[in-house]
C-alpha cells in the first residue's frame, strides 16, 4: 500500500495498518506529542488506533513545539 507521510511517498507492506502504527513507525513516541491530519482533516487522538489506512491516504503530523522565552 502506498501512502504519503508528511508529504513523502511511503510504501507499506501490510494492508491492515492504523494511523497510530504509522506514527509509531515514524518515530512518534506517544500520540500526546503530536496533532495528526488524515487527508487534510484533523483526527481525534482516540481515533488514531481504530482508523485504518487505505491506498493513497495522506497522513501529516505536527509536533507540539513550545520554546521561545525562558
Amino acid at each position: 500500500m502506498n501512502i504519503k507521510i508528511n508529504g513523502k511517498e511511503s510504501a507499506i507492506e501490510s494492508t491492515q495498518v492504523s494511523v497510530a502504527e504509522v506514527l509509531k513507525a515514524n518515530g512518534v513516541q506517544t500520540v500526546e506529542m503530536v496533532t495528526v491530519q488524515l487527508n487534510g482533516a484533523f483526527i481525534a487522538k482516540e481515533q488514531l488506533e481504530s482508523t485504518l489506512l487505505k491506498e493513497n491516504d495522506q497522513v501529516d503530523f505536527l509536533y507540539f513545539m513550545g520554546g521561545g522565552s525562558i
Binding site: 506529542m33 501529516d60 521561545g68 522565552s69
Partner: protein, 266 residues
C-alpha cells in the same frame, strides 16, 4: 505624515521597496505590536520591528536576564544579567531606533490582564515558552479578534503560523495543551541558539506584512523547519469545526489558563 530627512534616509530601503513604499512605511510607523515574551523569539522580533520603525512596541515578560539566556536571546547582553528582560530589551530598542515608543509590562500575561493589554495592539507575537500561556494567548487573541503569530522552537526545529480573525487558530490545530511532561521544553531538551533567530525573523516578517497589508500571511498553514537537514515544509489546514474555541460548538467562553507545569516556572 511627512517624513523628515532623517526618516527618508533611515527607511530608504523600505521606501524604495515595491509593496512597502511611503504608504507601507507609514503603516509600519503607525503600527502597534505586542511581543509576549522577551526571550529567544521575542529578541529577534523586537530588534527587527524596532529597526523597521514600528510605531509602538509592547514588551511583556516577568523575568530578569539570566546567564543561560545569552546563548540565544540576542537582545540581552552580558552586562544585562539580572536586569528585567523588558527593561534590557527596551534599552536596545531605543538605541536602535529612538523613534519607537516602547511600553513595558514586567509581568506575566494572565487571564486577568490579557485583554486590557492586547486591546492596545494591532498584532501580537507569541514568543512564550510554555503551552498553558501559548493557548491562553491564542484564546485571548481569538476572543478579541486580534491577529497573532504563533512560534515554537525545540532542538533544531521551529514551527510558526499566523492567525487572523476567521482563519484556523492554534487550538484548531493542537486542541489543547499536551499532558505535563509529554513534550520537552527547551530547558529540558536544548535548542540551537540561531534557531530562535530563524523563527523569530519569520514572525517579525509576518507582523510587518500584516501592518503593511502585503503578501500572503501564514494563515491556515504551519511552516515547519528542521535545521539539521535544513528543510522547510508546510502543513495546510482549514478552521477545525471541532475546535473548542472557534468551532461549531464552542465550549470555551471565558479566558482561562491551565496550571503552569512546575518545571517551566524555573
Amino acid at each position: 505624515m511627512n517624513f523628515t530627512e532623517e526618516q527618508i534616509e533611515r527607511y530608504s530601503r523600505h521606501l524604495i521597496l515595491q509593496n512597502v513604499g511611503v504608504e507601507g512605511q507609514q503603516r509600519i510607523m503607525e503600527g502597534k505590536v505586542l511581543v509576549v515574551g522577551a526571550g529567544g523569539l521575542g529578541s529577534p522580533v523586537a530588534l527587527y520591528l524596532a529597526a523597521a520603525g514600528v510605531g509602538t512596541i509592547g514588551l511583556i515578560d516577568g523575568d530578569v536576564v539570566d546567564r543561560t539566556n545569552l546563548q540565544r536571546q540576542v537582545i540581552h547582553f552580558t552586562a544585562d544579567l539580572n536586569v528585567p528582560k523588558v527593561e534590557s530589551a527596551a534599552n536596545k530598542i531605543k538605541l536602535i531606533n529612538p523613534e519607537v515608543k516602547v511600553n513595558t509590562y514586567k509581568t506575566l500575561l494572565m487571564p486577568d490582564n490579557a485583554f486590557e493589554i492586547i486591546n492596545d495592539y494591532d498584532f501580537i507575537i507569541d514568543g512564550t515558552d510554555n503551552f498553558p500561556t501559548k493557548f491562553m494567548v491564542n484564546d485571548a487573541c481569538v476572543m478579541a479578534q486580534k491577529p497573532f503569530s504563533h512560534g515554537g522552537i525545540l532542538r533544531f526545529e521551529g514551527q510558526t503560523m499566523t492567525y487572523v480573525p476567521g482563519s484556523a487558530c492554534y487550538r484548531c490545530v493542537f486542541g489543547g495543551p499536551p499532558p505535563k511532561d509529554a513534550v520537552p521544553s527547551c530547558s529540558q531538551a536544548g535548542v540551537l541558539g540561531s534557531i530562535a533567530g530563524m523563527l523569530g525573523t519569520i514572525q517579525a516578517t509576518e507582523a510587518l506584512k500584516y501592518l503593511v497589508g502585503t503578501g500572503d500571511l501564514l494563515t491556515n498553514r504551519m511552516l515547519i523547519f528542521d535545521a539539521l537537514k535544513m528543510k522547510f515544509r508546510e502543513v495546510n489546514f482549514t478552521p477545525n469545526k471541532n475546535c473548542k474555541l472557534c468551532g461549531e460548538h464552542p465550549e470555551i467562553k471565558t479566558l482561562e489558563m491551565e496550571e503552569m507545569p512546575a518545571c517551566d516556572l524555573h
